[in-house]
């Protein structure tokens, strides 16, 4: 299929503002009378505020107000809190203070006297599951996550005794599922591995801390925030502020990075609005880098155990997985469930069991981070797949193809099919382009202290939702306005997917405007930019809105020029008769006629099934052109799924433990490509992040005092230019998804997992097959492995430096 716009590069409309500094992020907005607010971060990992004496602070010149937990309405426990009198991790906001400048705020914060009652705390989930001498992160339970009720769970002494040294005990799980006869499948296996593992939590470290500004005007609350999403933020944020969604004006035209941590409305962003309401002044809350490491969320860590049984030919017969999720102090993301889906889809075990328990710890709230759960599980699984390949003498690419999913392979507990899968094509394409056969001949070769390692890795993530709304407006000047409520994560897919509406209407891109970033711009109800969904979900919404507009255009042409709507087609900003293309009307005229005809043509009559937000937006636009508006009721068949395969070659210095990636090639399976350059940047960015996850990044909490140790970039270690391979390549399968209207689907998350695993596998390869069962793999671990010394950490120890 050839398209005019889809699959072609373009300059996204927001990139100019990014290179000139004109792009306004939350902290770049100002308002008359604006004051500054800072929150008081808890110095304790867990404590109760017995009393607050702010009298001295409030007497200081320039201090204008205080907001405490008693002033805010927190969501029911164990949801993250806006402000709290029982902080549950170091840095959790206790109260907020506002003053005319930040020096005054900070000085005034020092004057606040708080009487604290320190409470027991833990940063280790296994400590919380012990039968005796357990310590819990919360007073009201020790387990919980989205989908798992707040509860208290202990394992028995027998559970711990049975596990044996260095093995994860597997007591009662919070959730579990299975399919097939797992025991029988293991009995048939030629090779069985039973491995305990640890994947470190790590911060998102978005470059833009989650600063936020708010004020109230004419009965509405204006919030300038830093979020990956636009429309999707509104109902939840309005709820936190205590207003109706249509009383909130929300601006998120630019977002300085989120990676999952700013996908939905998060509690601290309500602080400026609530403070502003109380003191009747605009309030800017700047969040510092240290504070961002506390309130900026993190990826869940895993302490897990996986048992795998392979047949002699390399087929994975059985998988038995147990995940203890090292969560934060509040309800967080469900990585521990996603881990199971990764195993089930990627290797299609004939029988599988999964058990999981999400445990609270006195550490920051865990949100989704690029490939939540799926990617951590890939970090562990892929090196073990290599181990089986090595032992069974099967090529590493071949064993992945042997076990890998096909077009409609099932995923997860429900064994529901994916909508499309071309991971085997990605593996084949990569093996050829990367000259896999030639390269693996070099693997293990040593020059001085440097050993060559070659790796292949792969990962998966669901890639789309359905049921949201699309909204376009053809104005009487012939310009097509594509309204999108999706947000701006930095992928340019807000505009990439808007081009689908332009494609359907065969509208020149120069005659299109993407309308977004501010609720006042009349945006439809859309889900946010997370979960690799945009290129599916927004393709669907823009498609249905454009199809609605197209139908209306044809109807208008038929009314004015005779015949039936189906007698007409569009191109070159004209609606014309198929049989006599000279007979037609311009888009500008069609829009004018829509206004004259009124009713549904110009948005005065609207579909009954669209969201109230879309309805309000379309109503505001009514009478100003031809309105295309619809809910995505397109057929749903299978789970949209994105895959990626990555190949890397490294040089590992076995004397220093340092590695250098020489070349990488990351290949996406993301259906029809919308925007090749945009896809290329996503694949490369994910590669960089994957390398960071594999070898650099990890949260560190001191178990004795509950204090964070990775609270600066230099400690938490996101990759820099110097971690970049000299040659970084990307590619894609470019085969359409049969369910998505133009064949597009998301891609954001899997290439992080594929890059991380390819690197981990390359390190293992350079070490002759040594598997660490742990991320990140740091130089000291490599040196210990080379020297065949025990590691300096215990097998199940977390927060290791």
């Amino acid at each position: 299929m050839t398209y005019k716009l889809i699959g072609k590069n373009f300059t996204p409309p927001d990139v100019l503002a990014k290179v000139t500094g004109q792009a306004k992020y939350a902290e770049d907005f100002r308002a008359d009378g604006m004051v500054f607010c800072r929150f008081l971060p808890s110095p304790f990992p867990h404590a109760r505020v017995k009393s607050i004496d702010a009298s001295e602070a409030l007497k200081m010149e320039g201090v204008v107000g205080i907001l405490t937990a008693d002033d805010v309405k927190n969501a029911p426990a164990p949801a993250p809190t806006i402000l709290t009198n029982e902080p549950r991790f170091v840095g959790e906001p206790v109260l907020a203070l506002a003053a005319v400048d930040e020096t005054t705020v900070q000085n005034a914060l020092e004057k606040i006297k708080i009487e604290w009652e320190p409470l027991p705390f833990t940063v280790d989930p296994l400590k919380s599951l012990q039968p005796t001498k357990h310590v819990d992160a919360r007073l009201d339970g020790n387990i919980g996550a989205a989908g798992v009720k707040l509860d208290t769970l202990r394992w028995t002494k027998e559970d711990f005794d049975k596990a044996g040294d260095g093995k994860l005990p597997m007591g009662k799980a919070a959730q579990e599922w299975s399919y097939g006869d797992v025991d029988a499948a293991f009995a048939n296996a030629k090779v069985v591995y039973d491995e305990s593992f640890v994947t470190a939590s790590n911060s998102h470290h978005s470059m833009e801390p989650r600063s936020c500004m708010a004020y109230w005007q004419n009965g509405k609350c204006f919030v300038y925030g830093s979020t990956q999403s636009q429309s999707f933020i509104v109902p939840a944020l309005a709820g936190m502020i205590g207003i109706k969604p249509d009383e909130l004006v929300y601006v998120a035209e630019f977002c300085g990075g989120g990676f999952g941590s700013k996908g939905g409305a998060y509690p601290v962003m309500a602080i400026p609005a609530l403070m502003s309401k109380k003191i009747n002044r605009p309030v800017m809350m700047r969040v510092s880098r240290f504070e961002e490491y506390a309130v900026g969320n993190a990826r869940n860590g895993f302490v897990g155990r996986v048992k795998l049984g392979f047949a002699e030919n390399g087929r994975l017969l059985a998988a038995d997985l147990y995940i203890v999720q090292e969560g934060g102090a509040h309800n967080g993301f469900w990585d521990f469930r996603n881990a199971a889906d990764l195993v089930s889809i990627m290797y299609q075990p004939e029988a599988m069991r999964w058990r999981g328990v999400p445990v609270f710890g006195n550490t920051p709230t865990r949100s989704a981070q690029r490939g939540p759960g799926y990617n951590q599980m890939a970090y562990i699984m892929e090196p073990l797949i290599d181990r089986a390949a090595r032992e069974l003498k099967i090529d590493r690419v071949e064993i992945r193809k042997l076990n890998g999913p096909d077009m409609n392979s099932p995923v997860g507990k429900d064994r529901s099919p994916v909508s499309s899968c071309y991971i085997k094509d990605a593996l084949a394409k990569g093996a050829e382009r990367f000259k896999w056969a030639e390269r693996i001949a070099r693997s293990g070769q040593r020059k001085g202290s440097k050993v060559t390692g070659v790796g292949v890795g792969q990962a998966y993530h669901p890639a789309g939702f359905n049921g949201f709304d699309g909204l376009v407006r053809l104005a009487p000047d012939g310009i097509l306005h594509i309204h999108t409520g999706v947000g701006n994560l930095g992928t340019f897919s807000h505009s990439g997917t808007s081009r689908i509406a332009a494609e359907v209407l065969k509208c020149d891109w120069e005659k299109c405007v993407v309308v977004r970033g501010d609720t006042r711009k009349h945006l439809p109800w859309n889900i946010g930019q997370f979960g690799s969904n945009t290129s599916t979900t927004m393709a669907r919404t823009n498609y249905v809105a454009a199809m609605d507009a197209l139908q209306k255009m044809k109807e208008i042409a038929a009314k004015d020029l005779g015949g039936k709507p189906d007698d007409y087609d569009v191109d070159g900003s004209r609606v014309f008769a198929k049989r006599s293309p000279g007979r037609g009307i311009t888009y500008a005229k069609v829009a004018q006629r829509a206004i004259e005809l009124g009713g549904k043509y110009t948005g005065k009559e609207l579909p009954g099934d669209i969201n109230p937000m879309t309805k309000a937006s379309a109503t505001a636009l009514a009478g100003s052109g031809l309105i295309g508006v619809a809910k995505d009721n397109l057929p749903v068949k299978g789970e949209p799924a994105a895959f990626a395969a990555c190949f890397v070659e490294i040089e590992l210095d076995i004397e220093t433990g340092q590695h250098r990636v020489i070349e990488s090639l990351n290949i996406g399976d993301c259906g029809t490509v919308i925007h090749p350059m945009g896809l290329d940047t996503q694949l490369k960015g994910a590669t960089v992040q994957g390398f960071g996850a594999a070898t650099l990044e990890g949260m560190i909490y001191d178990p004795q005092n509950g204090l964070p140790g990775a609270i600066g970039f230099y400690q938490a270690k996101p990759p820099s230019y110097l971690d970049l391979p000299p040659l970084m390549q990307t590619d894609w399968v470019d085969k359409p998804d049969p369910v998505s209207p133009l064949g597009t689907k998301g891609i954001g998350e899997p290439p992080l997992g594929s890059a991380a695993t390819a690197l981990l596998c390359a390190i293992s390869d350079a070490l002759g097959g040594h598997v660490f069962n742990r991320t990140p793999v740091r130089p000291d671990m490599i040196i210990n492995a080379v020297a065949k010394r025990p590691q300096s950490h215990q097998p199940l120890q977390i927060h290791t430096a």
């Binding site: 500094g21 992020y25 300085g256 880098r289 930095g490 970039f713 230019y721």
Partner: protein, 216 residues
Amino acid sequence: MVDYRTGDDESSRHSRREFIKRVIASGAVASSATYVFGGLQGCSSRGTVASAVPGSVARLVRINVNGQERPVDVLPQETLAMTLRYRLGLTGTKLGCDRDECGACSVTIDDTLYNSCSVLTHSVRGRKVVTVEGLAGPNGELHPVQQAFIDELSPQCGFCTPGQVMAAVALLKHNPNPTRDEARHAMAGNLCRCGAYDNYLNGVMRAAASSKATAT
């Protein structure tokens, strides 16, 4: 205009004090000075965090920003990033860490790259500061680095981009024909969490090539 000295007579000091008071009272210009945090100190409510010097007052200084002399009231402890962002309205300079780690606040001072979060404004009196807003030509023509970053789709979220632009501008000023590896090392002080490094390097190399083409 080196070392502009503020007037010593009583009246002018009064007027400045009055001005500052008015500013605070009206809130017309949001001023902000220190941004005190760092390590575990930042978590302490009664810890050892350094307080602003009591009684410190802003003094009028002149700095050259993007080719213009800008008189501006500056506190003794005020950083250049805060002056640019909160007194001069130049919000293109971003604060990513405010502690000299990330480079989002990169500007050039006399053509040398600095993290403006870690430069005191008083120290740049009489020196030439260029921010991302000062790169475009008089008719809005983009600097070759800016154009190259668009052509290579270098930014993703864009928050680090102004800093990346300034780092590239400073590099090309000193080394108009860098190798890719030289560029990588020169840019290494600028973090990008989106991981768009390769595209930024493509942009730097393209800008170097296009500048050379323009020069010949």
